[in-house]
Amino acid sequence: MGLKGFILRKVVAACLTIIAIVCVNFVIFRMAPGDPVRMMFRDPRVSAEKLEEMKQTFGLDKPLSGQFVAYVKGLTRGDLGQSFSHRRPVLEVIAAKIPATLLLVVTALVFAILLGVALGALSGWKSGTKLDTFILTASLTMYSIPTFALGIILLLVFAYHIAIFPLGGMATPASLFEGAELVWDVLWHLCLPALSIVIWYIGEYVLLTRSAMIDVMGQEYITTAYSKGLKKFRILKNHALRNALLPVVTITGVNLGFAVAGVIEAETVFSWPGVGRLVYDAVSHRDYPLLQGVFLLFAFSVVLANLVIDLIYGYIDPRIKVSG
């Protein structure tokens, strides 16, 4: 089968998953109680004829199968419907929020992976010592604190009581900053929301790298490296860590699903104007089309990210090529 077959299988699986997500998305929102047109026009003065007319405009008078076809057709054109609360196309509303979310996620991920892998490798290398126990306990605790709870604590301590960071948002309102000043302003706003995600994330990477490291340390080639008289640090870097990183790569893809959770929580607490905050707004306005759109976006990105990770894995793991 080899590498080509492997890639083909992964791509087909991802496509099937996306089709299934589209179907699930359609079904869930048809389960919603209440009349969507009534939801959109809550004003009781809107007459019954007008509502009927609106139903026809949105195609809600057609049978379910017809609605499904229309929905899929719309999707292929990038039409996700109209947002109730923003009164604009859903796609437009979401697209405007994506850059802010990307900035937050990428910053948080990079810091979490670097720190988490370093601490995890250290912990696994020194396994059984006091340092290891300390890192392990700290990670377990950090991993267990919900991001939104941590976010509220950070907000209260560092934004209200010590007041060294802003209360929320992405830039100082009405500041008219430009160039470097604007960059600093955004970075300053980025600190707390990113930190609340990073702290949760580090725990995950520490635990993972540590157990992978302990696994690798028991292998015979590590003993061989020792008996060759190599320096400790060199063994750690070239022999142990390099192999321990394989599972870390895989889990990064799986983790993106969880990263989405952290983003929704942190953005809500810190009013970060991204896609996660949009979820909160959509929920409080019961804006189903927007919620549906954001869910599709999250689901698609997780599937795509996993596909990319799988393909990278296919390249770096020699066994996949050999087994073909």
């Binding site: 929102f29 389960m31 919603a32 377990l140 919900p146 939104f148 509220i152 689901a299 997780v302 996993n306």
Partner: protein, 292 residues
């Protein structure tokens, strides 16, 4: 009878090991405290947590009449904190029970029958595991409407696949063991093999999974309530934070925010400590190392 005493002896050893594990003991202790709080909530100096008070007792700092202060509707925060443990624990235990039972059933059937049955079931599991959990839960909770039972339903719907996958891989190795073969030889049917021979050997794994699921369910309830999808008729810790956050006075009312946050964190941390301890104890060779 002999088999029964044997099981009892095994249980005894298990709990002895668990309580000699530092993390296990700490986790169990804190959880017991919360269970006590939930059971005797009415006797702990509480009033109805949803009862609003007089205007002059709005947003009072902790005092002798309001131990933990009051919120923006003059509701007693001590009572809300105590009664909140009922919701968290109920959601945790019920959702974990549903999740583990349904996940185990799917895993057992998939692993035992193999072939096309396994293929179909595991593809469904893979699909569910691919979906981002929190957004799916938010969407379902928003569509189904705010109630505690809906939250339980949503959490169970989203989390059973993990258990199914873990149980299946265990069943795959168990069904090749000689004792299953032996049982088949003396004429045991599929049902008997699955539930009489294989299932009892999966029970420790189910136990470990249940603790993980409780943690996740408590976390999920807190997040969903915080986002405003909680049950407005029963105030949970997540709901308290939601109200505090929406009130706009969160900065000046530390007493309103600290109790629910500490409770959520304490309960989740102790369940994950207990979970870690249980998986340590169930690890092959641990018993022997401790001299049993």
């Amino acid at each position: 009878m002999n088999q029964f005493t044997n099981k009892l002896e095994k249980m005894k050893i298990f709990f002895k090991l668990l309580f000699s594990h530092r993390m296990g003991l700490a986790g169990f202790g804190v959880i017991s405290l919360f269970v006590f709080m939930a059971m005797f909530a009415s006797f702990l100096g509480t009033v109805d947590p949803a009862r609003t008070g007089a205007v002059e007792s709005i947003l009072q700092a902790p005092s002798s009449s309001f131990w933990f202060g009051t919120d923006d509707l003059a509701r007693d925060i001590w009572s809300q904190t105590i009664f909140g443990s009922r919701i968290s624990l109920t959601v945790g235990f019920v959702a974990a029970l549903i999740t583990v039972v349904s996940g185990t059933l799917v895993g057992l059937i998939a692993g035992f029958y193999g072939k096309i049955v396994e293929e179909v079931l595991m593809r469904i599991v893979d699909f569910f595991m691919m979906l981002p959990e929190l957004p799916l839960m938010i969407v379902l909770a928003a569509v189904l409407g705010p109630s505690m039972w809906n939250i339980i339903l949503v959490v169970s719907l989203v989390s059973w696949p993990t258990t199914a996958r873990v149980v299946r891989s265990q069943v795959l190795s168990l069904k090749e063991r000689p004792f299953v073969e032996a049982s088949r030889c003396i004429g045991a049917g599929n049902i008997r093999l699955m539930f009489g021979e294989i299932l009892p050997n999966v029970v420790p794994l189910m136990f470990a999974q249940a603790v993980i699921m409780i943690t996740e369910a408590i976390y999920a309830e807190a997040v969903l309530s915080f986002l405003g999808l909680g049950d407005p008729t029963s105030i949970s810790w997540g709901m308290m934070l939601h109200y505090a956050f929406e009130s706009g006075v969160i900065a000046r009312t530390m007493w309103w925010v600290i109790p629910p946050i500490m409770s959520i964190v304490a309960l989740i941390v102790s369940f994950s400590l207990l979970g870690t301890a249980i998986s340590d104890v169930l690890e092959p060779g641990y018993k022997e190392k401790k001299g049993f």
